[in-house]
Symmetry: C2
């Protein structure tokens, strides 16, 4: 992967608009009360940072942790499910280059050992350390090297370690996905990595958010923000074995996160993941309106977003409304959409020169809406996924 | 599309094995009691046959007709649903080059007019004529030309018209899909067209079967054979607006179709459709065993067959068992497949040089099995679907 520079501005999608008065800071700088560090332990080539730690200095941290529901979940997901105290996470230990997925009992022990070593180095409880891994699957983790890397990362913790921690989670991302934002007396920092194919494995998304704001119910806040962002995107309809989102909040600022800011941050990161997904060239938002129920709106929107015919039309800049009608008709198989026609479908932006396109479908069956963001499907998707051979 | 010659042998897939004593005849020759004809009316370029008729000489014909369940069904599907007497179909009128889909009320009238003109030319009831169309969508049918073509086709009906009728339904198929078979005193002829992208439209499959055998319950016989063939294939998970399968039987031979023959014919045709699907280079059969229920087995098999990661691995000849575990895990999201590992997955043939690959997954959750055939996903899929621009 040719890594690109981080973009100048964080909020640049037409779809992710933060509340007013938000200032973008250097993304190396973490929210007050957090430090991070990284090291190279040999999982990735070229001396790249592949193990990292982020830790909250305060015992009073509140947290929320969301994990993939994939039934073939990776070892770190299982450890988080079974061991981690999700609402009191002090630290996260991460590695990239090896997903520790489909690695059996030994993989589980390795992921647990990562938590234990991080806890020991940081002098916190093992149950307060979350573990996240991304990279090759089905390959045993070289655990001894990873443990040495954890010690190294722990010796380099720094309040300006945001960039290093972000580097520690990247795999095939073309650019880093991170920000530090100030809104009034609150600071929020975030680091994410996107869905890029890792030889020979999966596309995983990871996201870590730190703030000094007061978050009364972190689980509810995170679920709500994720529902409007990471749960509304699709690259290829595939659910990863390793997806993880962690929110940590110290409350030291004494005030809550400004309304809409967490959602806007996660949405910008989600759109970056779509725009950087599997060789993607374009991102698209589809809005389905007039559905008979919320579930129906959702089903139709996802059918359109995951249709390879719509995705190739997005790639080929073809305003092909017929493919939208076909996908909707498939989602509602057995019913009759006789009245759908060109005048119910906005497909013009499929054919536009823009990087971000919006399309719409009016069903005239009721009052319910849903929207989903998705990436195009082009030659790069095939190249990335077909040419990495085990 | 560079059209290839019809293959020498009809039954050549490792998966479609006919009962013993089946002889392959010239596919121009229809089953006794049937005639067919075709004409060029200008829907396709280069003077190609684009309108056709197949008709049973006997009033005693029994039939069954299966139609797509897509809620955005094309006009000919709506006419067949509303007008045609499905168990007494004397004739089918077809065209290729225009799907007559998303064409509104006028499209419906045009499809009905095709039935009426064919009925008049053949001196049969309008309700005894099925209509099927395939090709461009969202484009009005040049109905006057089509009606002239129907008259021409009716004037050229021939017991050796199988090849001509087959030509009349082809769009982007790289090779014709047809056969005439004799088993004892029974003859069975069939013509199909596959899922190939038609600018700027959909992938449609059509199939017509004629026989002089006795078929007591044509609807049950056809449903059973389709359940094991056309309903077990996927090219890109997309359900067409125009899919149609018609079986006509005269009963003149006085004996039934040999057990397994109809299934074997439809399966060979289905596999041809997969192997010729959207630029496909390889076909694959996935078998999921040990599922807790039939529905679970089906869900997991389809998740694997429709996973773009598995399909690109098939294209890239990558024996990537991790992608099979991931797709299965997604299909069973919220459950735990901890015990799935490399030893539960047969993925070696993904990486083999064969044109037809078999892969397997043992779930160890129960006694239920399911299998699906699917095509690979390669550069040609993207080229075909992205580069046809409206």
């Amino acid at each position: 992967v040719e890594r690109q520079q981080a973009p100048e501005r964080f909020f640049r999608s037409r779809w992710a608009q933060p509340p007013g008065g938000v200032e973008e800071l250097d993304p190396d700088r973490l929210a007050p009360g957090f430090r991070a560090g990284g090291a190279h332990c040999g999982l990735k080539g070229g001396g790249k940072t592949d193990v990292g730690l982020v830790v909250c200095d305060s015992e009073d941290v509140r947290s929320a942790l969301l994990l993939t529901r994939n039934a073939s979940a990776a070892a770190p997901i299982r450890v988080c499910r079974e061991v981690t105290t999700r609402d009191r996470i002090r630290a996260a230990v991460v590695n990239s280059g090896n997903a520790n997925a489909e690695t059996g009992k030994k993989g589980y022990e390795d992921a647990f050992e990562m938590c234990r070593r991080a806890a020991s180095a940081l002098n916190v409880d093992t149950a307060s350390v979350a573990v996240a891994e991304t990279g090759t699957i089905g390959v045993p983790l070289p655990i001894d090297n990873v443990l040495i890397g954890i010690d190294e990362a722990a010796s380099r913790l720094d309040p300006n370690g945001g960039g290093t921690f972000s580097d520690a989670i990247l795999t095939t991302d073309r650019w880093p996905k991170r920000c530090t934002l100030r809104a009034g007396s609150v600071t929020l920092s975030a680091q994410a990595k996107g869905a890029g194919m890792i030889e020979p494995g999966f596309a995983t998304m990871l996201c870590f958010v730190q703030t000094d704001a007061v978050v009364e119910d972190p689980d509810a806040a995170l679920r709500e923000a994720v529902a409007g962002s990471f749960e509304r995107i699709t690259v290829d309809g595939q659910m990863s074995t390793n997806d993880t989102v962690l929110l940590q909040a110290t409350g030291a600022a004494g005030v809550p996160v400004p309304p809409g800011l967490l959602e806007a941050v996660l949405l910008q990161l989600a759109i970056e993941i779509v725009a950087d997904g599997e060789g993607a060239a374009r991102a698209c938002r589809v809005e389905v309106s007039g559905a008979a129920s919320a579930a129906e709106a959702e089903r139709v929107a996802r059918a359109i977003a995951n249709s390879p015919l719509v995705k190739t039309a997005l790639f080929g800049r073809d305003p092909n409304w017929g493919r939208i009608a076909q996908a909707a008709g498939q989602a509602l198989a057995g019913e009759d959409l006789e009245e759908i026609g060109a005048d119910s479908i906005d497909a013009a932006e499929l054919g536009a020169e823009t990087q971000e396109a919006e399309i719409g479908l009016r069903l005239r069956r009721g009052e319910h809406n849903a929207h989903v963001w998705f990436s195009d499907l082009g030659y790069e998707y095939v190249r990335i996924n077909a040419e990495y051979t085990t």
